[in-house]
Amino acid sequence: MSHANGRLHLWAFLQGIGFFPGGWRHAEATPEAVFDRAYYERIGRMVETARFDAIVFGDQLQGRDAAGRTPGRLAIPTLDPFTLLSAMAGATDHVGLVATVSTTYNEPAEVAAKFAALDYVSQGRAGWNIVTTAHPNSPWNFGETQLLEKSLRYKRAAAFVDAADVFWGTASGRKVDRTALKSDWFQIEDTLDFAVPPQGRPVLVQAGQSGDGRDFAAKTAEAIFCPAPTMEAGKAYRDDMRARAAELGRDPDGIKIMPGLALVIGGTEAEAHARHKAVLELADDVLCVEYLSESIGYDLTQHRLGGVFPIDDIVAHCEFPAGDVGKMLAPAVDAGTSIKDFCQAYARKPRGHGIFVGTPEQMADHMESWIDAGACDGFTLQPGFMPLELEVFCKEVVPLLQRRDLLRKEYQGPTLRDHLGLGALT
């Protein structure tokens, strides 16, 4: 990859209102704006001016309710990723646009057509974060009662991507293996006539953690979004993925490892910590109880929040697997911790992702040290709340990264493949 493209890649993960469950209540957060086109156009331009590779939207295929009750204090604007990225495509020229889409509750023909459309309207900037959907309530929205077992979901995902690639390859005149249209999972007779995707197909992104997930990512992914709470964990993961890719005959540099990183920036270290504390405190007891309720599929708000967990009722009725839920709550049950105290602690956990709290200079140091250690190829930033934390990063940290020749000063090409240094599809 050319030096001018930089050795640090930045992605902006923009689902909802930000990383912290109570962040939407911050005085400078703009929770209403996420329903407006102007907001997406402005954020898209801001991220592009800061020379990020891409914007990513996560996705879910279930209502946000626990046992039928939708939280009242959590901000949950899960707008359709394709829609937001398509709106942003019209306001930007370079930044990549990555949509999270499941291979379990979709068909290759439709997903191929949608990414061809996104790649066309963005002129070569589409990426697909391939997920298999693990939430137990998702099948209910698609006429099914149970999730497909995990290893089968990954088998379907592999067959799905291969089949979708036949659609893209056919549309763009690339040589493809048409036998992939028929598999244990799909009996496709023919492809569709649709817009030629300028990149040939979207950049393939994955977030696999388990053995099945890592195997799939090593074979398929061109970039990986993963949690990495420490530099050591990041390095171990990156080394493993690069080794797996090499074993499969792939160039390890063809997979960019992009761990999530939440951030709270302050002018001084003390100010940053004060900001972090303030945003955590915006999550009140009920909000935290709703947050855990959603994570176990059981409505805890119907119980006295100062009381202990009604564990027998929970494991009998929770929507997530009872064994997992029981294990998760066991420390609270054993210690007699109250519902609200446990939930407060739970809502502050970073879900496996690192949280950086400090000054712009410290953040640039942090990022540089990870790159130097081979712990990642860049970061998927998860702003604490939107849009302020991202604005501060773009204004205060990006110039430091550019001065250190970590981050590109100019885009080296128009496509997401160019930003990732992937070269043209063959």
């Binding site: 407006d36 209502g63 829609t83 937001l84 709106a87 068909e107 066309y120 496709i188």
Partner: protein, 307 residues
């Protein structure tokens, strides 16, 4: 009279130059001030899903065509209501309430083959699946009340939990639990457009806008009189297809028509010429519902709560 047309990506509009010409084409059409732009192709004068997927294309098009209502033509027999309801919610928000949808059965055999063996369906069964698809999608929009969102930072109230619910829709082809993980669209439901030449043309589910063809003024008069009484079309804006057997000049003499739909994927010049010939539109800029003078749909769950 309302003015409608379809646009689709032409096969030669590829590469950077092709993209530029597509963009210019859309802006020129915007300047010609149509009331409705359908994102879809055409086959024998009937609407078919376009060469560029309509739901993904629409939010981008909304940045080029800035005032007209925009309806995505999409396969009614292949899409999944959860995805479609979800996308159209976001689309309605980011287009300022200008969204519409035109589910069709047209071209279904080719699409069946691309979706796979499980999707094969006969023309006889297709209309029932179309109805089920519409009902399931609308049920998911009903999983949220129009005023469910509160967004009060000081009080910490984001939404009213009593205004979001599971709907547990069960139909012959689709079942879906809900709630949708997306708010009810600003228009309640995006406008439902129906092409009466489609296999779905005889549906009894109320449409907001219908496209109807006729070979003569007399036939158009008779057809429109019948549609004004029929359950699926009684409250709809009726747009007469012109450009084939019926020229635009003749359509102007059809008293009952609310507007015209220009067939043949016209260019901007043809749209501007038609605009100049048509009497001024009664509707206004703003949401698609406001433009076409349609009332907001009633949410049956909200109604129950009020009783």
């Amino acid at each position: 009279m309302y003015l409608s047309l379809s646009i689709d990506l032409a096969p030669e509009e590829i590469g950077a130059e092709g993209f530029k010409s597509f963009t210019t084409r859309l802006r020129d059409i915007d300047a010609a001030a149509p009331d409705l732009v359908i994102l879809g192709g055409e086959h024998d004068g009937a609407v078919v899903p376009g060469r560029i997927e309509g739901l993904v294309n629409l939010p981008w098009v909304a940045g080029q065509i800035t005032r007209a209502a925009l309806a995505a033509a999409l396969p009614a027999l292949h899409g999944l209501p959860f995805h479609v309801a979800r996308a159209l919610s976001a689309i309605d928000f980011v287009s300022g309430g200008r969204a519409g949808w035109l589910p069709v059965c047209a071209n279904h055999v080719a699409i069946d083959r691309a979706y796979g063996a499980a999707y094969a369906i006969t023309d006889t069964d297709a209309p029932a699946k179309y109805d089920d698809f519409i009902r399931a999608t609308q049920a998911l929009w009903d999983s949220w009340d129009q005023d469910a969102l509160i967004i009060d930072k000081a009080r910490g109230d984001y939404l009213d939990s009593t205004k979001v619910r599971r709907v547990a829709y069960r139909g012959p082809y689709f079942s879906t639990m809900g709630p949708l993980n997306a708010a009810r669209p600003p228009q309640g439901y995006p406008l439902l457009v129906r092409d009466l030449a489609d296999l779905s043309g005889s549906s009894k589910l109320p449409a907001d806008i219908v496209l109807v063809g006729a070979e003569s003024i007399a036939e158009a008069d008779a057809t429109i009189a019948r549609l004004r009484e029929a359950p699926g079309t009684a409250g709809a804006a009726i747009l007469l297809k012109v450009g084939g057997a019926l020229p635009l000049e003749a359509a102007l003499e059809v008293a009952g028509a609310d507007g015209v739909h220009l067939t043949g994927l016209p260019d901007a010049r043809a749209v501007a010429a038609a605009r100049a010939m048509l009497p001024t539109t009664a509707g206004s800029d703003g949401t698609a519902r406001a433009r076409f003078g349609m009332a907001m749909p009633v949410n049956p769950f909200t109604q129950k709560a009020l009783v």
